[in-house]
Symmetry: C2
């Protein structure tokens, strides 16, 4: 525990946006306003790049109404960046911090952002600059270590589940095979969330492929054939990071294959290639006529108007907690611990060291993936459902008993 | 005006689902229950194909709770079909109608479904079978004639606008060029609805391309360059039916071009090809590094949890009105007339002949498209906004004044 200096604070947002990252921003602002040690609160536009270019907005000047609208807005209201500071970059950050008397630094982002806070903090310690560097977690991939789950995931998961609720009904209405490609290059949490859409025994997704478990095209085709012959339709959730049994991503394999074939200027590593490849394979190998494919894309992290209330709340309190921690510690990352009540969902927040989160990636544990590698377990559903909250309830009448003619 | 017979009714749903098509279904059921002339109400599973296979559910047996859940469910709760009856098919329909004493036929769908009702009605007249055949409109494309707009469009438009609200903020956070491909092969109404996302002067979409106005790649590249050089970013809404100046769709041109180049079994007419082609062109011709592309796909018509209340309401009353009409007429299609109040939105329903709607396609009128063919007019916004209703309000702080160092 060290005395908190009287000085200014900088808040930045980094990496890919989420739909609730601004809740964390507002959480930091409202908590910072409660501590006399923090004088001014500067928002760095486009993360660390806004620090080195002295590109700041005065966050204490925002009205309560504006704070509310910002909190409810998807994506990074301060702008984001992919910059990863090195030693020279850190030097420039400190110069600006010194010029503006900044001794509190809050950085909202994923494992790269935790690493930025870590590097900046290390450099501060080395140069004897009294800085408090805190990382506030956000990702839609849910791939940060230490924390039980990440703010941003619950809302993205709700979007994916809501999409599958509709898409599965669409597939019932006009049966065939439907493939949906979900974000997540290394971790399958978001793809797995598609199963929360299920309300009836024969609801899709019927097959779920995550990056953690390699699977061959032959196996996928066998899986699809089995579902299709039973139900006359098949809905597939497929991670963009899906891998072959050798650990190579399907995306890499497909691009390699098509690069050899194509001589034009069409870029085959495009947005739909992963979905289209599997669709074409199912059509040609299984002779199924109606095969459709979608790639959900950026809507998963930015769509306006769909949010998990639990997720929004947790994003907010993670921001607030970072400020509380900054009054007592030099650095850290905010993490969520799940408290195992008998039937309810409860959490507490705690501090972990930046280096425990920086640059590291969490994957789905084995217990969340079924033995066949084509679905998820009840343990995953139990883990994910409270983070998403209620989903729209639906009915499908095609399952109802038929009338008999006299 | 003719006396309505005492007999049974069949309801079917046809074509691509919408998120409010079940509101029309429930509207028909609840109104039919009010008329003693209609004895039983049969739901045909998968449209006309469910009629000829005698695949019916008893819709009078559904509880009020179930009716409510069905109404709120996206996609066709009775299942859908792409079948288009010919004379022989109609013969089979009548046999089943006679067997079940069906003299009321309500078909919810687009212009193909209106045509089905039209053909069945013509055949009924010819064979002297006393049938009332009514079409209830639904499309997300908003491309039916006579009616001011179609149930289903407002909700799909709300989905698209909500997606662009988030996507434009995403593009502000991490600037570059973003291309979004929207459904609508012949009509640009849904693509145009993306502009409802705009809340600030420099909000995207900055360029909007609809199928009604042909445009060359060179012109699109010039448009993108102009926006990008001014704003440092560019968000594009692009219809899947976008055409060249010669009226050929871009999709056809691209597939032709790539078919010549490719020898493998990769299908290039895939889900992302249109988006990827433009993205690749912008990267190579304009030397812009960060170019991303999404194809919104089936979520536009099926996503659960996002709906326009106006749209849901109108879908419901169109269903009810079809039953009211069936008590007085032999056939017809329900249409919406907009009443021009000074500042408010009001409608009334009316009957039009099936042949006025059957197989015909409405396109965006010229007054809705700007002279450059890269955007829409205020007249379109005035037309579309009431159908969508309120959208999430957002804030972006990167537009706020910067602080000045002392």
């Amino acid at each position: 525990m060290v005395n908190a200096p009287k000085a200014n604070a900088v808040i930045g947002q980094s990496g890919g946006p989420t739909a609730v990252i601004n809740e964390s921003l507002i959480g930091i602002i409202e908590q910072a306003c409660m501590h006399a040690e923090i004088e001014n609160i500067y928002g760095a536009i486009h993360g660390v790049s806004g620090i080195v270019t002295e590109n700041f907005v005065d966050l204490k000047k925002l009205s309560v109404e504006t704070l509310d609208v910002v909190a409810a807005s998807p994506c990074s209201a301060l702008g984001s960046t992919r910059d990863k500071p090195d030693d020279e970059y850190c030097e420039r950050i400190f110069k600006v911090f010194a010029k503006y008397n900044v001794r509190y630094f809050f950085y909202i982002g994923g494992n790269d952002s935790a690493n930025t806070a870590y590097i900046v903090n290390k450099a501060a310690l080395k140069s004897g600059y009294d800085l408090r560097a805190f990382h506030v977690p956000k990702t839609i991939d849910n791939d940060l270590l230490v924390t039980d789950h990440c703010p941003g995931y619950g809302t993205a998961a709700k979007f994916v589940a809501s999409a599958f609720i509709g898409d599965d009904l669409d597939n019932r209405a006009l049966p065939g095979v439907k493939i949906n490609v979900i974000m997540g290059r290394h971790a399958g949490f978001l793809t797995a969330a598609s199963v929360l859409a299920r309300q009836r025994e024969d609801d899709g997704p019927h097959l779920v492929y995550v990056p953690e478990k390699g699977i061959s095209l032959a196996q996928v085709l066998a899986d699809v054939e089995a579902v299709y012959s039973k139900l006359g339709r098949c809905v597939i959730a497929k991670s963009e990071g899906m891998r072959d049994v050798n650990g190579i991503t399907w995306a890499e394999k497909i691009v390699k294959q098509t690069e050899m074939d194509a001589h034009g200027n069409i870029q085959l590593s495009g947005s739909g290639i992963l979905a289209d490849f599997l669709a074409a394979s199912i059509r040609s190998k299984l002779k199924i006529k109606r095969v459709r494919a979608d790639t959900f894309g950026y809507l998963q992290r930015s769509f306006a108007g769909v949010r998990s209330m639990v997720d929004a709340h947790e994003a907010r309190i993670c921001g607030r907690y970072a400020v509380t921690l900054a009054m007592q510690h030099k650095s850290g990352s905010v993490a969520i611990r799940r408290l195992n009540g008998p039937n309810d969902y409860q959490i507490e927040l705690f501090r972990t060291e930046l280096e425990n989160v920086a640059e590291k990636t969490k994957r789905m544990p084995d217990e969340f993936i079924n033995a066949e590698g084509n679905g998820v377990t009840e343990a995953f559903i139990k883990y994910a459902r409270p983070l998403v909250g209620n989903l729209p309830k639906t009915a499908y009448l095609g399952n109802y008993p038929r009338i008999q003619a006299d």
